[in-house]
């Protein structure tokens, strides 16, 4: 690669064809209200952790729905499980339960978490 001075760029596109939707089903079986989420962002707006670190629960949740698992564990470690997001959700989504279950699901799938 050194002699070329560059390497071939990798795609960032979400390819739905390569997504395993069974993983999403695991979440929605445990937390059916996750299906109702309309990604409005009220959760991210009220998030206590987001005051201090760059974290959006909305985006993390969305990426999980789209099968993009690679950075979710690290993102979820920013959550303090305070539950404010659950209080404000206009669709009654159990956001706190989603976070809790995502950690279990991703751990089972061997997506590594950075130790706190």
């Amino acid at each position: 690669m050194d002699s070329w001075g560059f390497s071939i760029a990798k795609t960032r596109t979400i390819d739905i064809d390569s997504v395993d939707f069974k993983v999403l089903a695991r979440l929605t079986d445990k937390v059916p209200s996750a299906k109702r989420c309309i990604m409005c962002g009220a959760c991210a707006a009220t998030c206590s952790a987001a005051n201090f670190v760059d974290f959006s629960f909305r985006k993390t949740h969305l990426l999980f729905h789209r099968g993009q698992f690679s950075n979710i564990s690290e993102e979820l470690d920013k959550c303090m499980l305070c539950g404010k997001c659950k209080l404000v959700c206009l669709r009654g989504v159990n956001t706190r339960a989603i976070i809790y279950n995502l950690r279990i699901i991703l751990n089972d799938m061997n997506y590594k978490r950075i130790a706190l």
Binding site: T13, I14, K35, M39, K59, R66, Q68
Partner: protein, 343 residues
């Protein structure tokens, strides 16, 4: 007193409803319909949003009301010309017949956008790309299948085809597509529980009664996926499926997938009859629709005395709005001609 003559142009839900009401008053009502039968474009729909009432049954009620009257119905007849001379309206048909009336109701309705103008979406080029009406035909037949006769594994609905699009000259929202996509996605999941359904939207305009609830039900009960983003192009893959590309604007990432059917939620445009007669009568509004005198208080009146508007000839409207509007227009006609109800 001599009976007044009223002409209703257009035999869709608006025309049928207003003609039927007016026939109860002291006037002769004549209804013109360019197709062989009355009923209008709604006939192609299987079930109506948001309550899944069977369209056919609902329309049969309207039509049977009409059949009880002494209205003269001219089917296969298109009004080509309209002109007002000394308070009398003179109309000419495609059969070169002439009619006169004291009042005319324009109920000429809409047409759907021709998606061939959006070549990048591949309609008319790839058989896997179909319109919401063609999809409705499948729902009516109770069987959703690809052009190869196979059961689709994945279906995408794309909103705003021909609406909110400067490139085709339509800046406006067509109002009915968002909820119709929700309806059709639910019906899809009822027929094909294992199919994956994706709905692409820019804004989901769930403004009518029970719309938001239906949207929620589609997610909760049926697992319909919603992606905020407008599909930029559709192309055929090697195995004749359809590759679509959009941005997932809520993730801020480009997104692509392959589907078996891409259903285009084609928008609403003024019908040719609406544009042609509005122009001839001098009441042409924006985008070829007919222009009412005032949106809020005189929405069934025009700047021409004795010329009234009913239904979707003014703007994209839902069926519920069209029928209510026809009833309101009837009231205006009765008022104008100072008619009394038949004894």
């Amino acid at each position: 007193m001599k009976k007044k003559n009223v002409i209703v142009i257009g035999g869709g839900p608006a025309g049928i409803e207003i003609a039927q009401i007016l026939s109860n008053y002291s006037c002769n009502v004549t209804l013109f319909e360019k197709e062989p039968q009355v009923g209008g474009q709604i006939k192609r729909i299987d079930k109506l949003f948001p309550d899944f009432i069977v369209q056919d049954e609902m329309m049969q009620k309207l039509i049977s009301n009409l059949e009880k009257t002494d209205i003269q119905i001219h089917t296969d007849t298109e009004i080509k010309d309209i002109e007002q001379i000394d308070n009398i309206w003179h109309l000419k048909t495609n059969k070169e017949e002439a009619f006169t009336a004291d009042a005319v109701v324009l109920a000429t309705g809409f047409k759907t956008f021709d998606p061939k103008y959006k070549e990048e979406l591949g309609y008319g080029i790839y058989p896997g790309v179909i319109t919401t009406l063609e999809f409705e035909d499948m729902l009516k037949a109770g069987k959703i299948q690809t052009s190869a006769g196979e059961e689709p594994r994945r279906i995408a609905f794309l909103n705003c085809v021909g609406s909110r699009d400067e490139k085709v000259g339509n800046h406006y929202c067509s109002r009915v597509c968002c909820i119709n996509a929700v309806k059709q996605s639910i019906e899809t999941k009822e027929l094909l529980p294992n199919a994956e359904v994706f709905c692409f939207y820019m804004d989901l305009r769930m403004s009518g009664q029970f719309y938001e609830e239906l949207y929620r039900k589609s997610q909760e009960k049926h697992g319909v996926n919603y992606i905020r983003g407008r599909i930029s192009e559709a192309s055929s893959t090697f195995d004749h499926r359809i590759q679509i590309k959009s941005e997932d604007t809520l993730a801020g990432l480009p997104l692509k997938m392959t589907v078996d059917l891409l259903v285009l939620m084609i928008g609403v445009e003024a019908s040719e009859g609406t544009t042609n007669l509005s122009a001839k009568a001098g009441i042409l509004g924006e985008y070829g629709f007919a222009k009412s005198l005032s949106l809020h208080l005189k929405d069934n009146l025009t700047k021409k005395e004795g010329l009234f508007l009913a239904g979707a000839c003014k703007r994209p409207s839902t069926l519920r709005e069209v029928i209510a509007d026809a009833r309101a227009a009837a009231f205006e006609v009765v008022n104008y001609l100072k008619m009394e109800i038949n004894g």
